[in-house]
Amino acid sequence: MTLFAYALGNLRRRPARSALTVAAVAIGVAAVVALTAIAWGFEASWQKANEARGTDLIVTRLASTNAMPSPFAAEQPQRIVAAYPQVRAVVGLLSEMLGVDAGGPPVFVFGWAHGSFLWDHLALKEGRWPADDAEAAVAIGVVAAALLKKQIGDTLEIEGRRLPVVGVFESPAVIENGAVLMTLAQAQQTTDKPGKVNVLNVKLGNGATAADVADFKTRVRADLPGFVAITSGELVGQNTVVRVAKAMSNATILIAGLVGALMVFNTMLMSVNERTREIGLLLALGWRRRTVMRLVCGEAALLTLAGGLLGIGAGVALAGGLEHLELLRGKIDAVFSLPFCGAVLLLATLLGVGGGLYPALKAARLAPSQALRQE
């Protein structure tokens, strides 16, 4: 006989109660996994997009906490930054989330300087790129094409302008696959922000060192009051949406952990109360008190382990479902990491064991003769 088999048998004794506890733990874990995957995915999607574009540093307004910093007049800062010795290229980017066609889902609309390095990482799947700054046309990402049900030759209505779709592209970043792309000049015209950009994307020269990056940042602070040079990770990290999403994810971890531990506590306490005579028998037959504790805590651990495994599966499915919702499609690429799932499983199991600790102590402290007399 093994403690594991005995613990498993005890859980099977009350299948409905065990299943409900497992389900409660699974729901908590699924919420944690899904929310965290979405929060991290949101952050990672933006970072991946910046990295894919080959952007080394971003120059933007100081302390901007929006997903896209508010627009500023690009001409002067771009000219100043372009003159720095470390800089190979500096290009403006304008971005906004806009509704496409009447009642259509909102999508990211990007305006990139024509012919700049920002376009280099994209793979054209169909059609062509807008020919020059003067052409009022768009290329759309593969996810946006599916979402908007558009193909080459169709037109999109954005901010009252009808723009033909001339190309369909694919990007390594999901956020770009779900976007509509036009030249910076056309984007400024469409959104009525002439000469403005949200950020300046800076590409440093080959072999730029950490000292070069630090020097660049110092120069920006000195030459451009109110501006800051940061990495894409720093920009995304200070993003309000990302921070709120992460805070919600952390709050969910806390709440789900407490609820899960309380469920396990309740289940194990009921189980111990029902099995008082049996536990008394084990003690009478010479079981050590710590063996009784191991049994009860083992049952709690099995419940949370099962709930944790189910919850991780459900969380992955839930996040997968969420990222395919019309509102979120092409904007978030849920991030799952094996270490995170392992940590969630470990945390759930530890909380479960914690929840089972008092019932286990209660069981281990029973007086055998009194417990045996219990009906």
Partner: protein, 228 residues
């Protein structure tokens, strides 16, 4: 009382409610190695309380208990004492419903040193001797009362104890099964030289004991202590 006693209790008392209820009062008892002692008396006279005290399941209000001259009070781990030296048989069997027969027999061996395979082999041997080999994989709910008590006897013997403490082991059985259970306990006693202290109401059972101890109102009825 001699130092050669397997078990010795002196002036044993068990009081409840601040002394208003006296389950046992000043009981002296010695059990020799291999001896079969039957404890008899009317219901509520303290038989089971005495058995619980002898088995270290309860703590006496007063008095001393010794196992091979070692005081229980000096034992660091009474659970280990029960595990190594005592086999319990209860009237209501106390089998664990979620464990099959083999696992029920193995319950006392969980904290016993030794390989699990050796414990299992011993459990199989015991079940074979008790006529339960074919029932090893069955669960208690599918067994007859006699079979359940035989499983309980196998469980009591799994750690090769020196003493069996049996609380009305035939109380829930018909006469045929009761006789079989007594035969099995007698056989185990012969083979292993273990002592038996048995609480019983049954005169057929007490007739097979080496010595009869009668309790009345929590006290030993010295006049009645005799060999049947």
């Amino acid at each position: 009382m001699t130092d050669a006693s397997l078990l010795r209790a002196t002036n044993l008392a068990l009081h409840f409610d601040g002394g208003r209820t006296r389950a046992l009062d000043g009981v002296d008892l010695a059990v020799a190695e291999g001896e079969f002692v039957a404890i008899v008396g009317p219901s509520g006279c303290g038989k089971s309380s005495l058995l619980n005290l002898l088995g270290a399941l309860d703590t006496p209000t007063a008095g001393e208990r010794y196992f091979r001259a070692q005081p229980y009070a000096a034992m660091a781990d009474l659970a280990e004492f029960r595990r190594r030296h005592v086999g319990f048989v209860f009237q209501s069997f106390h089998l664990i419903p979620t464990l099959n027969v083999l696992d029920n027999v193995l319950v006392p061996s969980v904290d016993t040193p030794g390989a699990a395979a050796a414990h299992r082999a011993r459990a199989h041997t015991l079940l074979e001797r008790l006529g339960l080999a074919a029932r090893a994989g069955h669960f208690p709910a599918t067994l007859s009362g006699g079979e359940r008590q035989r499983v309980a006897i196998a469980r009591a013997l799994i750690n090769d104890p020196d003493l069996i403490l049996a609380d009305e082991p035939t109380g829930s059985l018909d006469s045929a099964n009761a006789a079989q259970v007594l035969d099995l306990i007698a056989a185990a006693r012969r083979e292993r030289g273990l002592a038996v202290v048995m609480v019983t109401h049954d005169t057929h059972v007490s007739a097979r004991a080496d010595r009869l101890v009668r309790l009345r109102d929590g006290k030993l009825d010295a006049a009645a202590e005799a060999r049947p």
